[in-house]
C-alpha cells in the first residue's frame, strides 16, 4: 500500500543519518531527530486519523507522520526452530496456547493488544535445557547463515539514514523462555543451567556479529532485555554483574573494534540498579525509557552526564492528559534535547487512551520546540 504522508517532513539541513549520529554524540545539529516508537494495535482501529487513511501498522504510521528514517537489521540469534504454536484449550473468553518460546500462555479471544498471561514453561530443569539446546540452539544451524549481500543491497553504504545492528538479549529471552517466576527460581535452583543459557545467547550473537561486522557499515547497535519492572530487576544483581555483564563486554568489544560506540537496549521498568553494569559493558543508551516505572529521563541524563544517552522518555500518561500536561512535560525535557544525547518520543508504544487530537498537538508542539529554528 502506498502511504501518503499527512504532514511534511521536518525541514533540515543534515541527512537523517548525520543528524542521528551527531545528536547522539552531543554534537551540534540542525534540529532534533524526529521519531516515535509506535502505537498499540488498537490505535489502528480506534484512531480516526489511522482508520480514515488506511494506516494499519507502525511501519505505515512512520511514513504517514513523515518521521525521520532509522533502520535496524538482525539475524537468527536465538531459538531455531522455535516451538510450534498451537491452541491447547479454548475457554469462554480466552485461549490457552503453546507459544513459539515453549510457554503455555492465556490470551484474550478478542485479540486485544496485551502481554499474555503466562501459565507454564517447556524448559524448567537442566534436563529440559539439555534436550532443547541440542534441538533448537545449534550454532551450526544453516538457518543462522546471514545473507550479507542482501542486507547491503537493502541498506547501501551510501544511505542517508542510520542503520543499527541488533545484538539481541543476554537474559531477557531466557526470561521469556522460563517465565518471570521460573527465572527467579532457576537463579537459585539451577545457576549453572542459567549461566549456560546466557553463554549460549552470547555465542549466538557473537557468531552473527562475526558475519556482518566489517561487511556492513552500521551506525549503532541495539538490544532488548525487558528484565526490570517498576520494583527493579527481575534477576539478582549478583547474577547480572557476574554472569550477564561479562557477556555484554564480549559483544561490546566486537562492536568497538568496528567503530560502533552507540549501543541501546530496550529495557522497560526501573533500570537504575542495572545501569552501572550496562554502562561498564558498553550499553550506553536506554530505549524507550518508560517514565512511570522509573523516573524522569533528565534525572539519569544528569546523573550520568557525558556517558548515558536516552531515546524516548516522554511520559505516555502526560499524552493521555491533554495539551497542558503535554506542554509541561515537553518543557521539562527541553534542556536535555538542547544538550544532546537525547531524542524525545513517547516512552513506549502510544496507547489508545491518548486522543488523536492530543497526539497531533504533541507532534506539532514537538516540531515547534525541537524542529529547525
Amino acid at each position: 500500500m502506498t502511504v501518503t504522508p499527512c504532514r511534511n517532513k521536518w525541514p533540515g539541513t543534515l541527512s537523517d543519518r548525520e543528524r542521528f549520529t551527531r545528536q547522539m554524540h552531543w554534537q551540534s545539529v540542525d534540529r532534533c531527530f524526529n521519531m516515535e516508537f509506535g502505537y498499540w494495535n488498537e490505535n489502528f482501529s480506534m484512531w480516526d486519523i489511522f482508520v480514515d487513511n488506511g494506516i494499519k501498522n507502525n511501519a505505515e504510521a512512520d511514513v504517514f507522520f513523515n518521521f525521520d528514517r532509522i533502520a535496524n537489521v538482525g539475524g537468527n540469534i536465538w531459538m531455531s526452530p522455535g516451538f510450534t504454536p498451537k491452541v491447547i484449550e479454548e475457554r469462554p473468553n480466552s485461549l490457552i496456547k503453546l507459544d513459539a518460546s515453549g510457554l503455555i500462555v492465556e490470551v484474550p479471544k478478542d485479540g486485544h493488544d496485551t502481554i499474555p498471561h503466562y501459565l507454564g514453561a517447556s524448559i524448567v530443569t537442566p534436563e529440559d535445557w539439555k534436550r532443547e539446546k541440542e534441538l533448537r540452539f545449534r550454532r551450526d544451524d544453516p538457518a543462522r547463515k546471514v545473507d550479507v549481500a542482501a542486507i547491503r543491497a537493502r541498506h547501501p553504504a551510501t544511505r542517508d539514514y542510520p542503520l543499527g545492528v541488533y545484538c539481541g538479549s543476554m537474559i531477557g529471552r531466557i526470561r521469556d523462555m522460563l517465565t518471570f517466576e521460573g527465572i527467579a527460581y532457576a537463579l537459585y535452583d539451577y545457576p549453572d543451567m542459567l549461566e549456560d543459557m546466557v553463554e549460549t545467547a552470547c555465542a549466538l550473537v557473537e557468531d552473527y556479529l562475526d558475519q556482518v561486522l566489517g561487511h556492513i557499515d552500521f551506525d549503532y547497535a541495539s538490544g532488548w532485555e525487558d528484565i526490570c519492572f517498576k520494583s527493579g530487576p527481575i534477576i539478582t544483581l549478583d547474577f547480572f554483574n557476574q554472569v550477564v555483564v561479562p557477556r555484554y563486554r564480549r559483544i561490546g568489544k566486537k562492536l568497538h573494534q568496528h567503530g560502533i560506540d552507540l549501543w541501546y537496549t530496550d529495557c522497560d521498568g526501573d533500570v537504575r540498579p542495572l545501569l552501572p553494569g550496562f554502562l561498564d559493558a558498553g550499553i550506553n543508551c536506554l530505549f524507550p525509557f518508560e517514565v512511570n516505572s522509573c523516573c524522569h529521563a533528565g534525572e539519569l541524563l544528569d546523573l550520568y552526564a557525558g556517558q548515558l544517552r536516552i531515546m524516548g522518555g516522554v511520559d505516555k500518561m502526560a499524552l493521555g492528559q491533554g495539551p497542558n500536561a503535554i506542554r509541561a512535560y515537553l518543557d521539562s525535557l527541553a534542556p536535555y534535547v538542547a544538550r544532546g544525547g537525547y531524542i524525545p518520543f513517547c516512552d513506549h508504544r502510544c496507547p489508545p487512551n491518548v486522543k488523536p487530537a492530543d497526539y497531533l498537538f504533541y507532534l506539532d508542539l514537538k516540531e515547534k520546540m525541537f524542529g529547525m529554528k
Binding site: 496485551t114 527493579g232 539478582t236
Partner: protein, 206 residues
Amino acid sequence: MTDFIALQTAIIKGKRDDVKAIVNAALEAKEDINALLDKGMIPAMREIGERFSRNEAYVPELLIAARAMQAGLAIIEPELAKSGRKSLGKIAIGTVKGDLHDIGKNLVAIMLKGAGYDVIDLGVNCDIAKFEDGVKQGAQIIACSSLLTTTMAYMKDIVTHFKDQGVKVIIGGAPVTKAFAEEIGANGFSDDANGAVKLVDGFLKA
C-alpha cells in the same frame, strides 16, 4: 528450643530444606507452632519486604523467601488449623477486568500471606461480581491490580460499587499513581508489594 533467628535466616536466604528441618524439629519437640509463625516466618517475610522496599532485595529474593516460608507453612498448617489461631484479616485480591497480568498481583498476595493475612486470590480479569464473591467470603479489603492504562479505568467502577459497603478498596499496578487513587476515591494505593502490606496493616492492625 527453636532458634528463631536461624529460621528467619533460612527463609530470607530461601533455604527450603533448612526451614523444613527447623519446623519439623519444633513439631517433634511439641513447641508452640504459633511462635514459629510469629517469631520466625512472619518477621522473616517482613524483613525481606523491607529490603525489597529499600532496593536491597529484588523479586528473585522475595520469591525464594516466600517459597521457603511456604515449605515450612505447609508442614504446620494442619496444626495451625487445630490451634484456633485467629487470622489477622482477610483480603480479596485480583487483576481487574480486561487485564490478564498477574505478576504484580501475585507478589502482593505473597507478601500479604507472608505477613500473616488470609488472602483470597480471585485471579485475573476480575469484574465487580468476582470481587463481590471475595467480600462474601469475608474479605475486609479488596486489592485491585492493573498493568494497562486501558484497564485501570475499571478501578473507578470497583471503587464506586463498594463505596458504602464497609469494604476498603486499595489499588496498585505499573500505571497506577497516588494521584489516580485519590481521583477515583480509592481507600489506598501502594507502588510496591511491601507498601501494600503496610497499607493493609494500617487498616486492619489499627
